[in-house]
């Protein structure tokens, strides 16, 4: 049982538009997977279905053998592309909130990261800048000892200096029996940490290979290949 996520024939339509069109995927533990594709290719839709925030039109996802639900939420740590922080808590209170609901959450890790990124635990969430809110969310997500991390655009809104620290955190924080799936279109920044690449185009998987395979077969970087595949 080395598979952490498996999806079969997964499709999702919004009215007449197909956001996902028959996706078949298997993700193994211990891998860092880049889910890459242009805007509107279905990255966010896929991640939201895995979190039960969207219901698939057909097909199914299994995470650790379960359909998305309470059991999978215990082991999935999700970073959304939206800021979901409420406007009344302090940073320290939202840490307490995560500690209350997730058994695998480590407040020590969270406070450590806050310190590294110079965020005051006593500041109110609503007074934080957009970039700082994103950092806080990422800290909350990475302070869990989850089995699967689903990170939707984890570095999109933060500055390059913090970006390096965050990527570092992602690689060092996950254990061998966990997997990370991260979606982004900032490929060059993230290429060096990835093991596997999935290209999504108009809701379909057009490429699913390891980074080494891509370098061997195409003789070019993932970034260069991306620009070729998705040339406008």
């Amino acid at each position: 049982m080395n598979t952490i996520l498996e999806c079969k024939n997964l499709s999702k339509s919004f009215g007449a538009t197909k956001a996902l069109d028959g996706i078949n995927l298997t993700i193994e533990r211990g891998r860092i997977v880049g889910l890459l594709g242009p805007n509107g290719s279905g990255k966010t839709t896929f991640i939201k279905i895995c979190n039960e925030l969207l219901t698939p039109t057909s097909g199914e996802v299994k995470i650790n053998g379960f359909n998305p639900g309470v059991e999978t939420k215990k082991i999935v740590s999700y970073l959304s592309e939206k800021t979901y922080l409420n406007d009344w808590m302090k940073v320290s209170q939202i840490i307490r909130f995560f500690q209350d609901f997730y058994a695998d959450f480590s407040p020590e890790k969270a406070y450590d990261m806050l310190k590294r990124l110079n965020i005051d635990p006593n500041s109110r969430l609503k007074t934080l800048s957009r970039g700082t809110k994103e950092k806080v969310q990422l800290i909350l997500v990475m302070s869990r000892d989850a089995k699967l991390y689903l990170l939707d655009e984890p570095i999109g809104g933060v500055d390059p200096a913090a970006r390096d620290y965050i990527l570092d955190t992602i690689i060092t924080n996950y254990s061998e029996d966990a997997a990370v799936i991260l979606s982004t279109h900032l490929i060059s920044d993230i290429e060096k940490v990835l093991d596997d690449i999935i290209f999504l185009k108009e809701g379909q998987v057009v490429l699913n290979k390891t980074v080494d395979e891509i370098r061997d077969e195409y003789g070019k970087s993932v970034d260069a290949l991306f620009r070729e595949v998705f040339k406008c």
Binding site: F14, G15, K48, N51, E52, L53, L54, T55, V70, E71, K73, K74, V76, Y78, S80, K82, T83, Y84, L85, N86, W88, F97, D100, F101, Y102
Partner: protein, 261 residues
């Protein structure tokens, strides 16, 4: 987990209500002090007193209406914003069953409705001069005459069931409205009116036959306290069943048809 949800729901909402309650009670006390110290002798002091009295009564009424509005708005806003808005991304990825989310919202909403009513009532009591409190005793005696001691129980049950059904009906309307791809708020409003029609139909189908079987209309002593209480209890149960149905519908929608966009 339900206890934890309740704790955070209470914290998230208390910051609205507690300051308003405190302000209402303070202004009730100010008004009470002004009423008791009516300076009818000195003309100059009387004018000043009038201005102070009018101002503080205005603030009191403003607060009173404000609490009613806030109670209503917070019920809707907590469900809509915290579960179906961006905050829903956090709430629905917690390892908690959907029905517990609905239960925590509902129970805390009922609590605030209840306490708003109690605080409002107490503040009015503060305003009424002690010598007129006898009126209240007369009202209670009248209540006893019609409904008996059993009446306290049946009326409380009716209030509870009506409160629960009223709040869940709003949740159901919002959840149904959320199934629409566009104009979700407008759709929710339409759904609420639709559900009201459903309620009316249920009452019309159930209440008259029940009355017919219970009371032979030819009988002279039409409304005995026993009969009134039975009628109130029957109506409470109808409301409770409606509430349970709405709760189930809301749960199914949020569980199987959730689409946060």
């Amino acid at each position: 987990m339900l206890a934890k949800l309740l704790k955070y729901e209470l914290k998230a909402t208390a910051r609205w209500f507690l300051p308003l309650y405190a302000a209402l009670v303070i202004f009730a006390l100010i008004n009470r002090a002004l009423i008791q110290n009516d300076p009818s002798v000195l003309a100059e002091a009387a004018n000043l007193w009038k201005i102070a009295f009018i101002l503080s009564i205005l603030v009191y009424v403003f607060l009173f209406v404000g609490i009613m509005v806030v109670t209503f708005v917070v019920v809707i806003q907590r469900f809509y914003k915290n579960l179906l808005g961006d905050e829903g991304y956090l709430m629905f990825t917690l390892p908690v069953q959907t029905w517990k989310h609905i239960a925590s919202k509902l129970l805390i909403a009922m609590l605030w409705n209840f306490s708003s009513a109690v605080v409002g009532f107490c503040s009015i009591m503060l305003l009424i001069p002690a010598r007129e409190l006898g009126e209240l005793d007369l009202m209670l005696a009248e209540f006893q005459k019609y409904l008996g001691t059993m009446g306290y129980f049946s009326i409380s049950l009716l209030a509870l069931a009506a409160l629960a059904a009223g709040i869940i009906q709003m949740y159901t309307a919002i959840a149904l409205g959320h199934l629409f791809r566009k104009h979700k708020l407008l759709a929710s409003f339409g759904m609420y009116i639709g559900l009201n029609t459903v309620n009316q139909m249920v009452y019309m189908l159930i209440i008259p036959p029940f009355l017919n079987t219970m009371i032979p209309f030819a009988e002279p002593a039409f409304f005995t306290s026993n009969r009134l209480n039975t009628l109130i209890l029957f109506f409470s149960i109808t409301l409770a069943i409606l509430a349970a149905i709405y709760y189930t519908v809301t749960n199914i929608i949020l569980k199987r048809k959730l689409n946060l966009e």
